[in-house]
């Protein structure tokens, strides 16, 4: 994301020739065999594989070892909109298309939405609250918000959280194609030439930890999760709402005890659809007023596509990069300004800047909005 590198390309999946949309941001050169044994793989849909590899990296980086009371007070909350979509696609094909009367015995434990969260809890002996949140494109932000709440309330000392989704399958893309919101040629958020979203896949996992606990052990703290808010538009199942988005940003600022002027960067939901980018821009102008002129707002979906239930988690990486490394990830593919999106979208190349507080937006189908506020350490 720092280099503004594009991960969107031609899809190489079964029956791609029957699709109208043939691009996506697939996780390339991922060899399951390198990360898992054959008996392990029998239980792991691709979304769980990606989640487990991300969790291994995050937990290793955190330096935490889970036993005794810490294990009991650590949970796993992951977002996933689709769950085991690869398993579903493959096995529907088996029974409906190929007429087979038998499926692999582990289809259910592979495809269930909580499979990834449970696999992580098993792999690391995490005995606390463990579940999956499925709120479409806001799944990860809701999951991480729940993790934040569990720690703030004292119910947990740490929570392994984030999201995973892998719906770059024939059926997954066919379903999205039907809505007529996918771009056939690229994701260009906030650009006047945008023509839709591009699907991606992947996982990102973080270790959220009680601040005092982390300080006491001398942990390398990446950033502070300072606030979270979630709202519902209660209006339309697919059309975004300016007021719902604005309300969630305002509430997140309030929860984090931040003033609008404190925020230097927003990782936008920025899907690249006409409706989202216009509505999100209007909501940002509404919440930030004059300060919107000085605010950097970028959509990293221009690079990694829309990971649906995992998107907020991957985008939190950009939020942390802004706070920790002083690098603002760009909105690549930006061509022509859209008067309906009059924001500094950090076009095409990353920028160095010191920011002390950021927001990360997620606005889902179903009218569900979830916004995280982070501060620099």
């Amino acid at each position: 994301m720092q280099q503004g590198r594009l991960a969107i390309g031609q899809l190489d999946i079964l029956d791609v020739e029957r699709l109208t949309i043939r691009i996506g941001a697939a996780v390339k050169s991922f060899s399951p065999d390198v990360h898992f044994t054959k008996p392990e793989l029998a239980f792991l849909d691709r979304f769980s594989q990606l989640a487990l590899v991300a969790a291994r990296e995050a937990i290793a980086q955190s330096g935490l070892l889970f036993s005794g009371e810490l294990a009991e007070k650590t949970g796993v909350i992951l977002g996933s909109a689709g769950g085991g979509m690869q398993t579903q696609d493959e096995n529907y094909r088996n029974v409906y298309q190929d007429g087979k009367n038998r499926v692999h015995p582990f289809v259910v434990p592979r495809l269930m939405h909580n499979a990834a969260a449970s696999q992580i809890s098993m792999a690391f002996n995490l005995l606390g609250p463990t579940y999956c949140v499925a709120t479409a494109c806001a799944s990860s932000n809701h999951a991480m918000g729940q993790a934040f709440h569990l720690i703030r309330s004292g119910a947990c000392t740490a929570v392994v959280t984030g999201g995973a989704d892998s719906m770059l399958t024939f059926g997954g893309i066919k379903a999205w194609e039907g809505l007529r919101v996918l771009s056939p040629d690229g994701c260009r958020p906030f650009s006047a030439t945008r023509n839709g979203m591009v699907l991606g896949e992947g996982a990102a996992v973080f270790v959220f930890e009680d601040y005092d606990h982390a300080r006491a052990r001398g942990a390398d703290i990446l950033a502070e999760v300072a606030g979270f808010a979630m709202t519902s538009d209660a209006a339309d199942i697919v059309t975004p709402s300016k007021s719902g988005a604005a309300r969630s940003m305002r509430l997140a600022l309030k929860d984090a005890a931040l003033n609008p002027e404190d925020v230097g960067y927003i990782n936008a939901h920025g899907t690249g659809t006409m409706a989202n980018d216009k509505t999100e821009s209007a909501a940002i102008l509404d919440v930030f007023g004059q300060h919107a002129e000085r605010l950097m707002v970028s959509s990293t979906k221009s690079m990694h596509g829309h990971l649906i239930g995992a998107t907020g988690a991957v985008e939190l990486l950009a939020a942390i990069m802004a706070l920790r490394d002083g690098v603002i990830a760009p909105t690549i593919g930006y061509q022509i300004p859209d008067p309906d999106c009059p924001l500094d979208v950090v076009p095409n190349t990353a920028r160095s800047a010191t920011v002390r507080a950021v927001l990360s937006n997620a606005f889902a189908f179903g009218g569900l909005n979830a916004v995280l506020a982070l501060k620099a350490i």
Binding site: T20, G178, L179, R180, V181, L182, S183, P184, R194, N195, G196, V238, T239, T273, M274, A275
Partner: protein
């Protein structure tokens, strides 16, 4: 073919907009019928299913000239063109 396409298209649009077919003419616009972009997406699906064609419609680009949705008459001509492309 023209009359059949015209009549069927009007029936599909009328059903989607929940209005009487008799209330639709060539000059009628989707806005007049209360069809928003998601309503149009569903109408396009019904058109594709009925006529066995692939309609190049992207909800993000309502002004795309490849499938003119400005009026019912324009949609009729676009559907006829797609049908003749199919049989060509």
């Amino acid at each position: 073919m023209t009359q059949l396409v015209k009549q069927k298209l009007r029936e599909i649009i009328a059903a989607q907009a929940m209005v009487d077919v008799a209330d639709i003419c060539d000059a009628t616009t989707p806005q007049q019928l209360g069809l928003d972009s998601i309503g149009l997406v569903e109408a396009v699906f019904a058109i594709e299913e009925h006529f066995d064609i692939q309609v190049p419609f992207n909800a993000n680009e309502p002004d795309d000239p490849r499938f003119d949705i400005s009026t019912v008459g324009a949609m009729t001509r676009a559907v006829e063109a797609l049908i003749s492309q199919n049989s060509a």
